[in-house]
Amino acid sequence: MGMTMTQKILAAHAGLPEVHAGDLIEAKLDIVLGNDVTTPVAIGEFEKAGFTEVFDKDKIVITLDHYTPCKDIKSAELCKIARDFAREQNITHFYDVGTVGIEHALLPEQGIVGPGDCVIGADSHTCTYGALGAFSTGVGSTDMAAGMASGLNWFKVPQAIKVELKGKLQPFVSGKDVILHLIGEIGVDGALYQSLEFTGEGVSELSMDDRFTISNMAIEAGGKNGIFPVDEKTIEYITNRFEREPVIFEADEDAEYARTVTIDLSELKPTVSLPHLPSNTKTVDEVAGMPIQQVVIGSCTNGRMSDMRAAAAIIKGKKVADGVRCIVIPATQDIYMECLEEGIIKTFIEAGCAVSTPTCGPCLGGHMGVMAAGERAVTTTNRNFVGRMGHTESEVILASPAVAAASAVAGCVACPEA
């Protein structure tokens, strides 16, 4: 019996000729990631267990992106713990305010992760790098500590759901609509303990940014990882970024899948997830007109260059509606700079948006856009759980950058083509 793409990457990193779904294996890690929320806890566990040195200073990435620039003294203390550790251990890939970007936009952009890698990150959206053909999954702080100490971690080999993509996206429909649609179809635990393996002729129609968005939200279907095959677009993306030799894995012809889900990209419409679960999806035309008070365009899901361009194209020459706060957060410094060069920042500011330095802030209700009771936001982020962006009686509607921008201008949930 053949192996899935994920299984082949795991087998190679475990030094085994083959692995099967359900096997418990120990695999070598190419990259171990943490942020300012999870790294201090990992450092505490690392030191408590008596470890003094990381296994490889080049293979650990620490990004201070969640509560930065620090929102309060407690956050500043946490960042200091991570900063001191990074300095002591001489960590190569340490990103602080001024160079930091939102981790899952930053690592691919800086060429730190690439095809064939086995990556863990103490952040659930670490699954993003599956877009590059890597095995990449979110773990906790103790896992990060173990990874930092040994360069190894344990995994249960997952089964996979094959997601067969066909057709081509319509205008104003993006990777975000694909993944929201899929989560709506299979549910928030539809891929629990499983991989989502994207395949089919439709893959080549998706930009890398679309693929990052799709892989990013695999966790919102409960998935262990969400992975794309490596094609010309992947190679073009990693060229002049990724310095290691990419290793290209392909699923075997006779790989066994738990099931197959087929999505015709050409049939998808702009989609949103209503409160309070990402699986609570509707097409925008079904819910257009719901009043909103806030829009957030950014995050590890949708803070990339094509997201900024899609939002700016809709906002250009218009004004954010009265009574709406529109917060735009380019995910990295390079994206911010590119937005400046293209005049996109000017477009946002002229329309009445607030533009911020990279931070995860509002997505998790940390800072930079926390909501009061009774308020509702359309956001390009990834979770709409109770209290996610502030008060437990506030509401988050997940959407694409195009829908978020159209909603900011309309003052209510709105379709970009309308």
Partner: protein
């Protein structure tokens, strides 16, 4: 053997309600415990007794990778979590910190809030003393049992190194 009173929760209990992000800037277990479950049951942190048991539905612990979630539950005094299923990162995090969790859809369905139950975590046997019913949870694979026996992943790794 663990014995305690049941706190019952529903399906898809996410890590944002287990411990909201606004409290993640103070990760000491005792601080996290003060706000555990606050957004779903404001009375929980103030009234939970040491040894009590939490019973959830499907996909317990979904969402963020924050290890602060099982840490908060453990520090609140909860001795064990039983659920129909667990989100995978919460599952690993619990094992990695040596916190007992058991997957048992039947127990999750039948056990009611306030019941007194006993749990043999090693054998995976759950007994509802209030109703007299007994349930068998899925046993852990031997590898995971070893991690739990050692008190978590890092003590296990350190032991292997020695």
């Amino acid at each position: 053997m663990i014995r305690g009173k049941v706190w019952k929760f529903g399906d898809h209990v996410d890590t944002d309600v287990i411990i909201p992000a606004r409290y993640l800037n103070a990760p000491e277990p005792s601080e996290l415990a003060k706000h555990c479950m606050e957004d779903i049951d404001a009375s929980f942190a103030g009234t939970v007794q040491s040894g009590d048991i939490m019973v959830g539905g499907w996909n317990f612990g979904c969402g963020s990778s924050r290890e602060h979630a099982p840490v908060a539950i453990q520090a609140s005094g909860i001795s064990c979590v039983i659920a129909a299923s667990f989100a995978r990162i919460f599952y690993r995090n619990s094992i990695n910190i040596g916190f007992p969790i058991l997957e048992c859809p039947e127990a999750s369905e039948a056990i009611k809030a306030g019941d007194i139950i006993t749990v043999d975590t090693k054998a995976g046997v759950i007994t509802d003393e209030t109703t007299g019913e007994t349930f068998q949870a899925k046993p852990f694979p031997p590898f995971i049992e070893k991690i739990i026996e050692k008190g978590g992943l890092l003590p296990y790794l350190k032991g292997k190194e020695a």
